[in-house]
Amino acid sequence: MKNGDSAILNHPARLTGAEILWATLEGEGVREVFGYPGGAILPAYDALRKFPIRHILVRHEQSAVHMADAYARASGRVGVAVGTSGPGATNMVTGLATAKMDSSPIVVITGQVSSKVLGTDAFQEVDITGITLPVTKHNYLVTRAEDLAPALREAFCIAASGRPGPVLVDVTKDAQQAVAEFDFAAAAPRPARPHPMLNASPERIAQAVELLRASRRPVILAGNGILKSGAMSQVRALAERAQIPVACTLLGLGSFPASHELNLGMMGMHGEFFVNQSIQQADLLIACGMRFDDRVTGSLATYAPQAKKIHIDIDPSEIDKNVHADIALIGDLAAVLDALLPRLPSRDGSAWLKAIRAMKGAESVRDIRNMPDNGHLYAAHVMHDLWHATSGQALISTDVGQHQMWEAQYYKHETPRSLITSGGLGTMGFALPAAIGAKIACPEKEVWAIAGDGGFQMTSPELATIAQEHLDINIAIINNGYLGMVRQWQEAFYDKNYQSTPILSPDFVKLAEAYGIRAAAVRTRGEVSGAVEEARTHQGPFLINFLVEQEDSVYPMVPSGAALHEMIRRPQANPLVETASDT
């Protein structure tokens, strides 16, 4: 049972529940867990030293779950977080909901009071399986040591299969202390039956091909499901062979190379005008692993009115939820496209691509280039220059809000899993712990956390985790002194009544230094590249406090509930992102 000795996985043995817990994780290939100890999980922590598993001590359990989430998103493996009962468990709820909304495979293990006192309001007791029922894919309450290995193995299987998602396993203290027979192989979950609603039959695929053949203005909508299914090459083959332009959702960024000539970029509320216009004018939408979120469609009544829709998704409950699918292909995206690609008709898409280029040409000149660089520091400058300095190769995590949209607009992601952001739930405080999880998963990658001054303060104690674990993570705070996106909505829709959005922050440079982390402040565009270079070359973590224009807004913008083509455009006075020399 010493480090590296996997004998217990091959030979049944009598172990304590605590040992079974770690042995099962080891057997599932877990090498790192994110967690925080406490009374009800103490037996498990006591046994941890016997197993070759690295424990990253966090500063708040919410962060542990975000780290496991980002670990999963960066690596494609299941992420694991551990916490204690009661407040430890309730702190994890936001992390679970974040992972659920973005279909991230994680297993969260919580300690629970002894089974003898369950339901008695014992110290630090909370009904966490009840609380997390709507925000997990599944959850378990384990009260016996012998049930632990089967529950955990099933949890890993459920988390990673089908549409991935978070699974919580709540383990009572007495289950950790009791002794039971451990047989890793015998605890394997029974293979899953195919979902009875899968329907991508040859007939349906033929119908989809027929729609494609008849289409003159098709657009592929590339979503998170491409990354989950690993269907990057299939989607690319579909786009290239049939000459179909690709628009990405926020979580789909990176699933199709940004520099590819068929890539339009991000769609939706803060997508470029020509992208949304292409969707509105399309006669066929091929939705690949995306769910027609309200941030993507705008008003449903006016969404892509001329377009037939082919909806490919593994989750049948997404079909016809928001947008009616003329052809629904329910199944694993890569498998469905593998079946569809050989039947793909050759088509000439040049007229439609030319029409889109014409729309884009006019837009990009007016929206991006035609405005003066007045020396002020704008967030868009920061994103653009960061993209430039890192050659678009960094792994970026973002929070939610203005900086998240600017990042999505100006940092062009070429590779899958290079953007980790809280899309569905929109969780402030996600970026910093996500960067930690991503760095643990991919130590060889350059990782940047980008957060606003508001969101950063929600999880900033994790700076201590970075210091304690000696993680080489760079942090960019887009500091405008406001809760920026809320302020922008107050400006646009609430008469500039900036109620409770001006936010005081500490001196982030001094804060970082208090944790022993190097830091710098940047006030002008001229200083951006120097500071980014210093951060990149410095061995160890580095924080940059970008003091940007305070009342800048993200454009273009579809007001909530408006039609996708009715966007608020960039005002003429808005700063440029690319100077003539940049492009």
Partner: protein
């Protein structure tokens, strides 16, 4: 409109909460819910009647399948089926007012299961409308209804319709996206036809050694 589902679920603690929570989450009212043991070891059978938009059926079914403890779901409202509900009705009745209640019980093919000095208890089994009919008559007469206890509907499709029977009959469609390969389609058309033609003709359904099965994932 009313949607009626039959769901086989694992017989474990908390499963009812998961099913009920799903309808709560979708903001759909459950009209009635009956649960009991089934012919399958370790599986309970639920009949769920809910009130939702006509188009909501497939999404409710898909959402039920997302629950790990749900084994099989059938949208039985779309098919020819038998529906039954049982009700116990306690009515105030004195010796002088009993006789017409006995007549009523006769007409409705109900039964008197308890008789006390000032009340009697009627047991009635039938479709929802039959029970509603008796209650309406009781309420419109002089009789005072003291208590009503209803089981909610239990529904069973006529004939055979399980996927295994369809498979045995060769009504399969190869479907991609499933590692386990071809399996029966869940389309309604052929099943309905089969259901009608097979009505009243029992067939040998091969026993499924895998049952109760793990949930679909």
């Amino acid at each position: 409109m009313q949607h009626t589902f039959v769901a086989y679920v694992e017989d474990k603690p908390g499963v009812l909460t998961r099913v009920a929570s799903l309808f709560r989450r979708l903001n759909i009212n459950i009209v009635s819910l009956t649960v009991g043991r089934s012919e399958r070891q370790g599986a309970s059978r639920m009949t769920i009647v809910s009130d939702a938009l006509p188009a909501a059926g497939p999404r409710i079914m898909a959402s039920l399948y997302k629950l790990e403890n749900v084994i099989e779901v059938d949208d039985v409202g779309r098919f020819s089926s038998v529906s039954r509900e049982l009700a116990l009705i306690k009515v105030a009745a004195t010796p002088s007012t009993r006789s017409h209640l006995f007549e009523l019980v006769e007409v409705f093919r109900a039964r008197v299961v308890d008789l006390a000095t000032e009340s009697m208890m009627i047991e009635i089994t039938g479709t929802e409308s039959k029970i509603e009919g008796l209650l309406q008559v009781l309420n419109e007469s002089e009789d005072r209804v003291l208590e009503i206890c209803r089981t909610g509907q239990m529904v069973m499709r006529r004939g055979h319709h399980t996927s295994r029977v369809l498979q045995a009959l060769g009504d399969t469609e190869s479907v991609v996206g499933s590692k386990a390969g071809p399996f029966p389609a869940s389309e309604s058309g052929p099943q309905e036809e089969l259901s009608a033609s097979a009505d009243g003709e029992p067939e040998n359904i091969p026993a499924d050694p895998d049952f109760p099965d793990k949930n679909y994932r």
